[in-house]
């Protein structure tokens, strides 16, 4: 029979078997083509990248992507080759030359990959269009969609060349396997039994201790200034923690888990049960040959969870912090009263709503002779500690009146902060903190304020993170009583006059902000809440999108490898389940055994990944992110959402795997 017709017959007769391979390769090509199309989309890149950053990221991610495609396709290829080894052995027994068998394999692979390529290009085209549509909607970009082709010829060419190269590599790898395996080994390949596993206490204990030490080191960051991360240095401790967790994970999976399960067999009451007596030895037996795959999956899972969690946190945190960075919808400094009229005109032009409030706050700078002053008193007075180092401020408290404070909070809609306020006496004040600082609570501190020639002591009755004015316009803000403020106005001139503009009708109006910015010649004192959110989305979305590609790939890789690995192991042991049925195991009990055996291989990468993700996120949040928000579990909502999403994806893959395994084993 001609090779091509034989390959076609094989594909037709074993469609369900090849469908899985076709589907997984299609998946990979879809993602690859969508990504390649995006990185070659000049229209979009021009809109979202001004400094070549996105292009550089695309190039970096494309290397990861290519490595992943090669790894994933070779893994799937090896999986399917293993399941066909006996069949290939029979061809050889019938007198087929190995070169003929190889050309049959290549023909089949070519046909499958060609099918996957066509499907992948089609789906990838849709996927790419979807991404473009999503970004333009999210960033409110003006893009002419007709300029973006559904199939970018260069992307199609690049994908075709790359997939062809992978197919050639697979052909070489298959030929190596085929020519190196003897006829006897080909026929008996599936029957080759595992070698007896030996259990060593020392590497098991080392693995366990390494993982625990790594996690303890990560937790040490919570000690703040005293932690090893700050006393020794972030990078050496970071490297040590990573090395401990990495080597610990390897030893934990390869040595500790089988050792622990073997030791658990000594608990006879638990071990001599109809399920455990099958699953515990089965786990040890499988982990012996699969520990490398399991380690790789665990690391992949840890990377997926950590990247998605850190990514979610990195996007959510700055947006949550906008309420502090720009508490009013629009805020700016004014030099003279006539500017207010000009602002009102511009606002009327762009948003003629009647709900807009204009609040002017005159800020008075006051110095203090106290020995111990809060950090906010002198923040931004020297190079290195300011957001905008070109503008240095003079040290001092920046006083605003209590009545202005409450009116501003009300205009900004911060009713919760308002409810907690108590009126101030003349010798009392509220200190606005820049960062939450659990080590130094200034409540109760007395600061003598130099007003004219007098020193008037004020006691801090409360510290708060509810700043009514952005940090661009006021740092070290002190809320004082209206009477005390009145005294100040009589003794000095305001250091700055800040206009806060709020109102529903001016929200999300980027054109208005740009008009005001133009009027103020790009003043750094102009701040806008919606503008800031928009700016964060514009700057971060391309990064998140590209990292999102990687995360999706990691999910596909982890889920599919777990699927293939479990289906392969369970179907290879079909005869074992037949024995159990003959012994009197019901189908329900066998299903339970399959569920437990499969669950173990899903749970290990997930739980390890989860632990790694939690500790990595903790370190990232504590050490690498500027903390200006109160520590609260709400901040971890996106992390929890990312974990929950991962859990749902794992659960879906798990259910699919168990379903396929049960179908393969329990079909009579």
């Amino acid at each position: 029979m001609h090779n091509l017709s034989m390959a076609l017959k094989n594909l037709k007769n074993n469609f369900s078997f090849y469908a899985l391979y076709l589907l997984s390769v299609t998946f990979v090509i879809t993602v690859f083509f969508a990504f390649t199309s995006f990185s070659m989309n000049a229209v979009m890149l021009e809109k979202i990248s001004n400094d070549g950053r996105v292009e550089t990221m695309c190039n970096t991610i494309s290397v990861f992507l290519m490595a992943f495609v090669v790894f994933y396709m070779s893994y799937s290829n090896r999986f399917f080759l293993r399941r066909r080894t006996k069949e290939l052995g029979i061809y050889a027994l019938l007198g087929y030359r190995k070169s003929t068998i190889l050309s049959l394999l290549i023909t089949e692979n070519l046909l499958t990959c060609s099918g996957a390529f066509i499907a992948g290009i089609l789906l990838g085209g849709f996927f790419h269009k979807g991404i473009v549509f999503g970004i333009t909607k999210l960033l409110d970009l003006a893009v002419n969609h007709s300029e973006i082709p559904f199939f970018n010829p260069n992307a199609v060419m690049k994908t075709a060349c790359f997939i062809s190269a992978v197919v050639i590599v697979l052909a070489l790898s298959n030929s190596r396997f085929l020519f190196r395996t003897s006829l006897m080994d080909l026929v008996r390949y599936e029957k080759s039994a595992e070698k007896r596993m030996s259990f060593h206490a020392v590497p098991s204990v080392i693995g366990f201790l390494a993982v625990i030490t790594g996690y303890c080191l990560a937790l040490d960051i919570l000690r703040g200034a005293e932690s090893l991360w700050l006393t020794i240095g972030f990078y050496p401790v970071g490297m040590l923690t990573s090395a401990l967790i990495l080597s610990g994970t390897v030893l934990f999976i390869a040595s500790f888990l089988p050792f622990a399960v073997q030791a658990g067999k000594k608990n006879k009451r638990k071990f001599y049960t109809e399920t455990k007596i099958i699953t515990a030895p089965g786990f040890i037996y499988r982990i012996h040959s699969n520990s490398r795959t399991l380690i790789m999956l665990t690391l992949l899972s840890a990377a997926t969870l950590t990247v998605s969690s850190v990514m979610a946190l990195s996007l959510y945190y700055p947006i949550a912090a906008v309420s502090r960075m720009a508490p009013s919808e629009i805020e700016c400094r004014i030099e003279n009263e006539s500017e207010i009229t000009a602002f009102k005109q511009i606002i009327n032009e762009y948003s003629p709503g009647d709900d807009v409030t204009f609040l002017q706050t005159d800020i008075y700078k006051v110095t203090s002779t106290a020995g111990q002053l809060p950090v906010e008193y002198s923040i931004g007075t020297s190079k290195g500690d300011s957001d905008n180092e070109k503008i240095l401020r003079d040290a001092g408290f920046e006083c605003i009146p209590f009545s202005n404070y409450t009116v501003l909070l009300e205009a900004q809609g911060r009713t919760k902060a308002l409810e907690q306020l108590a009126t101030l006496n003349n010798n009392e004040c509220i200190l606005i903190k820049y960062q939450p600082d659990s080590d130094n609570d200034e409540t109760g501190n007395v600061y003598p304020l130099l007003i004219g020639n007098h020193e008037i002591p004020v006691t801090v009755t409360a510290v708060t993170l509810d700043n009514p004015i952005s940090f661009a316009n006021s740092v070290g803000t002190l809320i004082v009583s209206d009477d005390l403020y009145h005294m100040l106005t009589e003794q000095a001139v305001p250091a700055a006059k800040v206009l806060s503009i709020n109102g529903k009708s001016i929200e999300d109006n980027e054109a208005l902000f740009q008009a005001l910015s133009e009027y103020l010649s790009g003043s750094p004192y102009l701040q806008g809440n919606s503008h800031r959110v928009h700016e964060i989305f514009s700057l971060s979305s391309s990064t998140f999108l590209l990292i999102g590609f990687l995360v999706v790939l990691f999910f596909i890789a982890t889920g599919s490898i777990l699927y293939f690995n479990n289906v392969s192991a369970i179907t290879d042991s079909k005869s074992d389940y037949d024995i159990l049925r003959k012994m009197g195991y019901t189908d329900r009990k066998i299903k339970k055994i399959i569920q437990k055996q499969t669950a173990a291989f899903f749970i290990i990468p997930f739980l390890f990944g989860l632990a790694d993700c939690i500790f990595a996120t903790l370190v990232y949040k504590s050490a690498l992110m500027q903390n200006i928000l109160k520590n609260s579990l709400v901040l971890y909502t996106p992390t929890m959402a990312a974990i929950m999403l991962t859990f749902i994806i794992y659960l879906a893959y798990y259910r699919m795997t168990v379903h396929t395994c049960c179908k393969a084993v329990l079909t009579k």
Partner: protein, 249 residues
Amino acid sequence: MSALLEATEVTKIYARAQHPSLNKVSFSVAKSEFIAIMGASGSGKTTLLNVLSTIDTPTSGSITIDGVNIKNLSDSGAADFRRDKLGFIFQEYLLLDSLTIFENIAVPLTLQKLPPKKIENMVRSLAEAFGIDPQLNKYPNELSGGQRQRASALRAIVKRPSILFADEPTGALDSSSATDLLNTLKESNESLNTTILMVTHDAYAASFADRILIFKDGCIIRELFRQNDDRRTFYESIAREVAKLDTER
């Protein structure tokens, strides 16, 4: 002796088959009896074993084992019945590779939810009695074919089944291992009163039984009884019968 197994007019016709694999087969097996079923390939021996052991269902006829009509059993009822009443030995040993020999033998007892102490005692005493206690902590792939098949036999015997089905148990063994296994079965039959129904095409293996049912084209065509003959004499009469059958083909 009372009948432990009663097969009446058992017929099995597979879809698209021209002839029935079992054609109105009737026979009974007494408690503690050792019966061998012989016949050429395709004569219906294995079909009979599958039908009797609830692995397959007959097209018509009735089968009663230990007072239970197995035709009326549901899937889970049949599983429970196999768990409580039946033991199996197969030509390919079919031990679980991931379990030690001890664990393999213990599996049927865990299925019966016996206490751990009792399971340990039962497995160890049986292994000692049949001489495989040195192999208890080994894995199947560390044993010879004969040792594996003996372990497989002990796994079937350990739960004291009402009846033990053996499908060509010596088919993959050398002569010495085959003799060891057959002695094990005989010993279990005599000392533990295990009822055995063994399918074999080997006259030597059949000579260990008390009675032989010879199958052809789905029917029992002859029945041989050992009576007071010694094993060698019985073997010679079986061999003669098999030769006669071969010439009649």
